[in-house]
């Protein structure tokens, strides 16, 4: 008869993580849109006196103010990576174990090559996603460093001055500006793929990944949850509890007790 889909409801994304995600999303969109306008200001006004308008100044203000939110939000996420639950833990983002790399291969086989239809079931992100977010994290760090370095000469505040060392590293402000702007395109490409893949995984795997970033809950078959925990991936903070004899991570089906 029909195999039962014995689902379990798991609280994966804690509230702070969800707040981080959406604040970050709003920041990226705001920074991207204002950043693009700063690089390519449209000729909205072609007449009148300078004193009558300040729209470009406002655009720049939004960019700079949002940058602070973007940075502190990211710093908060870094903090949460050490105190949050195991799915948000920083160790997931570093390729430090063989199971992670095996999972990368498996995910690429399913999602990209489509040579396998055995979807990789994970409660947190899969390892490809974790490493991608490592990349966006580094990109965020670069944007914050380069952005504040470019902002420093316009500010009397001490804070942006901490970043001025970035300029000689890139030769000139003009060069740094180029890279700061070029990275916008990486965010655009990331966002395109990110949104597509969330829909894709929601559809293919049926774990409710799309709604999990709103409510925090994912839904997964009990067997799959067991298999994932046995794999050790996104289970790092709970190392102690990992079974000592460690069934080789080939994940044999557990003998029924």
């Amino acid at each position: 008869m029909n195999a039962s889909h014995d689902y379990q409801r798991v609280y994966v994304w804690e509230q702070p993580v969800r707040w981080f995600h959406w604040i970050n999303a709003v920041c990226v969109i705001a920074l991207g849109a204002t950043g693009y306008l700063i690089a390519h200001p449209p000729g909205l006004l072609n007449g009148g006196e300078a004193g009558d308008s300040y729209w470009f100044g406002t655009i720049r203000f939004v960019h700079f103010a949002t940058a602070y939110v973007f940075m502190f939000n990211f710093l908060f996420r870094l903090y949460w990576a050490s105190v949050g639950n195991k799915y948000t833990h920083w160790r997931n983002f570093f390729p430090i174990s063989k199971p992670q790399l095996r999972q990368v291969a498996a995910v690429l086989k399913v999602d990209i090559l489509q040579s396998s239809d055995k979807a990789v079931h994970t409660l947190g992100h899969n390892s490809v996603a974790y490493f991608t977010y490592m990349g966006t994290g580094l990109l965020t760090v670069f944007m914050v460093l380069s952005g504040f370095a470019l902002y420093a000469p316009m500010s009397d505040s001490w804070f942006p001055q901490l970043f001025t060392w970035m300029v000689p590293l890139f030769g000139s402000e003009q060069n740094l500006r180029l890279f700061h702007y070029g990275a916008l395109w990486l965010f655009i490409i990331f966002t395109l793929i990110h949104i597509y893949l969330v829909f894709y995984h929601d559809y293919v795997e049926g774990h409710g990944v799309l709604s999990s970033m709103v409510g925090g809950w994912k839904f997964m078959e009990k067997d799959a949850i067991k298999a994932e925990e046995a794999s050790g991936i996104s289970g790092f903070p709970r190392r102690k509890r990992r079974p000592a004899p460690a069934a080789a991570p080939g994940a044999k089906p557990d003998p029924v007790p």
């Binding site: 008869m1 029909n2 195999a3 889909h5 690089a39 390519h40 200001p41 000729g43 909205l44 006004l45 072609n46 009148g48 006196e49 300078a50 004193g51 009558d52 308008s53 300040y54 729209w55 470009f56 100044g57 399913v110 489509q114 040579s115 239809d117 055995k118 979807a119 079931h121 000469p153 316009m154 060392w165 300029v167 000689p168 030769g171 000139s172 402000e173 003009q174 060069n175 500006r177 180029l178 702007y181 070029g182 916008l184 395109w185 655009i188 490409i189 395109l192 793929i193 597509y196 894709y200 559809y203 293919v204 795997e205 049926g206 997964m220 078959e221 067997d223 799959a224 298999a227 089906p253």
Partner: protein, 391 residues
Amino acid sequence: MPTDIAPLPTQRKEETIYEHLLARGVSRREFLSFCAWMGACIGLESSGVAQMVQALETKKRIPVIWLHFQECTCCSESFIRSSHPIVADILLDKISLDYTETLMAASGHQAEKSLQDTIAKYKGEYLLCIEGSVPLAEDGVYCCIGGKTAKSIAEEVAAHAKAVIAWGNCACSGCVQAAKPNPTDAKPIHKIIAGKPIINVQGCPPIAEVMAGVLVHLLTFDAIPQLDNLGRPKAFYSRRVHDTCYRRPNYDAGLFVESFDDENARKGYCLYKVGCRGPSTYNSCGTIRWNGGVSFPIQSGHGCIGCSESNFWDNGPFYQRLPNLPGFPIEGTADQVGLVAAAAAVGGGAPHPGMTNFRQRHGIGEQAGENAEQAEKDHDEKHNGSSDHQS
């Protein structure tokens, strides 16, 4: 201001700067007004001006060796065309210019002897000013004077100098001859000389008043002025041209010149979109301006090209907001590369949803851990089951 200057007195090395000026027919009133003006230029408070007056009254002229390497002499030109007669005077007479290829009367062996004499006589006291970069390729043969390479001359003269002033972009960062592909391997002075204080007076050329200001600062305080992280005097290079630009309100209002012949250009709107480098250039053009405060490039309707910044030739094109992307084909801007990459991502991904439905038709919606055969079997069972039920 004196329009005609008395003929040069015979060299009297021991006279002070002020005495020298008096002998040249400069009145005390003119002398004081010069000090006040110079003080304002280098950002001194009024007590500092008094200090300057005293210094110029009591100090002897300092010996200067001024070397020319790979350069066009526009720095010297800028200096001697300064608006204030005392400014040109200060260089050509007040400091005693003991050696400079382009202006000294001596030539040939006499000139070389004068150089050696000055080094020997004023060891550790003379100021070394350098215009131009130093080529290192082929053992430096691309710039030789009197049979010696620029590198060996610079090292020899700098060894006993009190301080070094690098005039202009060539000496500070190599300017056009160090631009890609830099065939002569031209290097700025700070890459050649070590162990001496070096003041980078940037610009192509630097503003005359800035050059004079640096010299007067050295004369007055016997100390290196405060420098920024690129070795430029902060008094002149701490503000962006953009922040001191009289067209700045147009920028904040979003009023931009779209092309050089449009109505907006005539109205004097901001030149940001036609490549003005004001936002990343540190110089005093917006405040001191050029030719005695008459104008500066932006005021004349042309964007700043960033001539006081390193590698400004390689950050082109000058009439484009962002430089071309290094490593990509000529005219490859960040936007073109970004668009192609985004299009590739979208285009490459377009067949993916369809492929997913086809390739993963067994996996979708089925229980995890089941393989395809099982899924199919389940499917069949389900089908049979339901038909049973119906019958």
